[in-house]
Symmetry: C2
């Protein structure tokens, strides 16, 4: 295959994670090689190689013999302006034939899945190829064998953590879809206060206004290196860090970016994403919280039971003991939505404030109790007594501060620049809150990219509402986002208020 | 929603059909609005509006208050450097919720499909969104109702042609997958020589080394405006033009670009693409050739029967009478592959040369006979006699020249710059040719983008081969493409030669 040597020019264009290169339309190499817009090219330096998408350019910024690089291309190749790169047609990416097989409805083997995941984590897929793969694996399109294969493949291409006590390493996860449901910092504090190991790595938001990592980042440093995580866990039995920084599942991080753009969350992808990170984090026992509600991520008891069964089977096949808990997902948990506002709720519960959200407190105790029950092989009621005692005696709060100190100290929560309180226009009973629309509202206000953006609810389902009563306060960092979010609010039906007869 | 006025700067970057805009990283508007890499933006001038993907830039080419436009963005907005555009967050594209519904395995309604097709044809989808939609509609994922809905939606968003005789307008289509199977120019010439109306619009290659439009373009002008097509058909009862130029199915043209990049061809998408163009072209009767072979597009008799049944049902629901013909698809048809080489075969058959490929001649007669049988309600055998007479008396060749003269005259076929003849290394019997790999070889040589690129076969399945005997000649316009194609040839197994015992 013929290769051509070109001089690199940084274009300073951020194409996100897809490497793009730019060549002059009248470049003789484009002509000689039959390169045109969207051709996939292999770009090499002496030490690095990647596949990039070509954008053909007609302007005077590039000379003959030069090739423009987008930011991610330049970063991955680790080169400076003027250095040489070698360019050729990209070899056919072998695992794409397996993606096509799946598109056409056939089951994938473990080897095919492993090849796909390896190629994705090596950045050999274009964005539309990743979108295609994710779309045909979404819904219930992966069977249990494929999910096991995907989980193992994702573990295989990342790092794995090891702990002093390898027999009992706990973890928890919530399937999400409930704005504000920030139990993780509470559960980790309660469980590790009892001396159990729970090295929690969390993700950032995929389609929600905040992930646990986003909320924790408002309070402390979360992007710790592996050696720092090991130090924190050795000191406190726990940590509350972002999983992405430790490269536990590099393929998953690439997939999540496209899932986010497509507002997509597949069942198999979900299970593999969750369990691969738990396994890579060295966990042996985990509880999975599955909230069910008409506007939660899981909408019916039947779907929750199916998911629960899949999680348990895939976990068993991959050597981790899973207990799924199907919970009420009819409305948000806590009052705050968005990184900072959720952090305020967490602090209120830990500090046992009298106005702390009771629903958040109870959920955290419920999950902690199940973890105690798993770890000590005791009845749920015994676990619950243990959890309540730890929280009410202030030991969880003390332990939380201990963890944050080890991670680099506690930050003060920032205040938002703009806020707007919306009042009810009619009186009646609040009969429903649309979790999805509510999440969208908080996202339009700027969450999670802007920490202080989001909202605080002033009511909950079942409450009687007076006309003029405050429903929520919206927080944003810019007036543009506030206006845009409120425009969306007025077009949607987030709160269902039924007028009294 | 807040809008911002920015000054347009042409970036001269070809991002193919996806509009992209570029803004400075430190631009106060990015900050105020929460725009970041890959945000979808609404860009407006006084008269035009589109949705574009943002690439955030850090360089000195854009000043504060400026926005860079990729080529397609600039073309669609129809503006010059320095003119003003208005920028805001793009509104949520409503039909994307229907795509998600399909991703999750639910059936789409006619209205949902119509909304998706309308949004795609109005360029409101990003490339990854189109990739997602196509992937979940691929294989057999659309049922007959959805295919009918998709066909009607695609017709609704394009133009429709009308002809003098509206009761009998013929058409033909081949499902493809067989390199070299260029019967269309032959069938059109034979049928229209008899005075029947057959205004043929063809597509360019999707995943093959040449579409009929590519082959015809080697011989004459194919991108005719509607008024010109009407003149040609009035003069000759026929035409052989590219469908894309007349905007018969604008949504399909956008979809095909991503299908091509993903090397994808879905059953429902295929039927809707074919029939929407036939209906928009005003056809009332059509034959569909479905070649079946292990390396053809359709691999089994069962799949062919299923496709045949769907074509007939969808056709009936949309008011067009379809006759499907299931044919042998075990090897290429004719000897040439690629636009120019296929054109040579067509000319040889029309001119009744003694060394013209017989298999191509027989297929064309078979299809023409079925069209006569449909149009005159006569037996196939009668139609066949009619077709043979027209071809052998030179009337088809005369008619072909007549059509080309009306379209702008016949061009001389160009010669390729490079050729390489490959010889067999072993003796034996040629027992199989892999159509897909063969197509890939011709594409790597530069077909169809380079007209003269492609290949000529010197053998066919069943033939005895001597060591050293020529198997094929590869044609390309550049040495790079030839080397790359031959490298692929040596790694693949295109010809199966079984040695004599």
């Amino acid at each position: 295959m013929s290769r051509h040597i070109l001089q690199a020019v940084a274009m300073g264009i951020d194409t996100h994670q897809e490497p793009v290169v730019y060549m002059q339309e009248d470049c003789h190499i484009c002509r000689a090689e039959g390169f045109n817009a969207n051709t996939r090219l292999s770009i090499s330096t002496r030490t690095e190689q990647l596949i990039a998408t070509l954008n053909v350019v007609r302007n005077d910024k590039l000379l003959v013999g030069q090739i423009g690089l987008s930011k991610i291309t330049q970063q991955r190749l680790d080169i400076k302006d003027g250095e040489s790169v070698s360019v050729s047609h990209a070899q056919v990416v072998g695992s794409l034939s397996a993606v096509r097989k799946k598109i056409y409805g056939h089951k994938l083997s473990d080897q095919e899945i492993a090849d796909i995941v390896e190629d994705i984590s090596a950045h050999r897929y274009s964005d539309i190829e990743i979108a295609s793969f994710l779309s045909v694996c979404a819904g219930s399109r992966l069977d249990v064998d494929e999910i096991i294969g995907l989980t193992k493949a994702m573990v295989a291409c990342g790092k794995r953590l090891k702990w002093a006590d390898q027999t009992k390493v706990l973890d928890k996860h919530c399937i999400g879809g409930l704005p504000g449901n920030r139990t993780t910092p509470l559960v980790v504090s309660i469980v590790s206060a009892a001396g159990l190991t729970i090295p929690k790595t969390s993700s950032r938001a995929i389609t929600s206004p905040a992930g646990t990592a986003d909320t924790m980042e408002a309070l402390t440093t979360v992007n710790l290196e592996i050696t720092d995580i090991q130090r924190v866990v050795a000191q406190t039995h726990a940590c509350l860090v972002w999983g992405g920084a430790v490269n536990l599942s590099p393929a998953d991080d690439l997939l999540i970016r496209i899932e986010r753009a497509l507002d997509l969350d597949g069942e198999g992808q979900l299970i593999a994403s969750v369990l691969s990170k738990k396994i890579a984090a060295g966990s042996t026992h985990a509880v999975i919280d599955i909230p069910v509600g008409s506007t939660a991520k899981v909408r019916s008891q039947k779907d929750a039971e199916r998911l629960s069964s899949l999680f348990t089977q895939v976990g068993a096949a991959c050597g981790i003991q899973i207990r799924c808990l199907i919970t009420d997902g009819s409305q948000p948990v806590g009052r705050g939505i968005g990184p900072v506002e959720e952090a305020r709720d967490v602090l209120a519960v830990l500090q046992c404030e009298h106005n702390a959200p009771q629903d958040l407190r109870e959920r955290a105790l419920f999950l902690a109790a199940h973890l105690f029950s798993l770890a000590y092989s005791e009845r749920y009621e015994q676990g619950l007594e243990r959890a309540i005692a730890i929280l009410d005696e202030g030991k969880a709060w003390q332990q939380f501060q201990h963890i944050l100190a080890a991670q680099g100290g506690m930050k003060a929560l920032p205040d938002p620049s703009y806020q707007h309180t919306e009042a009810a226009t009619t009186a009646g009973t609040l009969t429903a809150i649309d979790n999805r629309q509510l999440a969208r509202l908080a996202k339009l206000a700027g969450a999670p990219a802007t920490e202080a953006a989001g909202m605080r609810l002033h009511t909950s389902v079942g409450e009687k509402i007076e006309a003029g009563q405050s429903l929520f306060t919206l927080y944003s960092d810019t007036i543009g986002e506030q206006q845009y979010a409120m425009e969306f609010y007025r077009q949607s039906m987030i709160f269902t208020i039924e007028e009294a007869q």
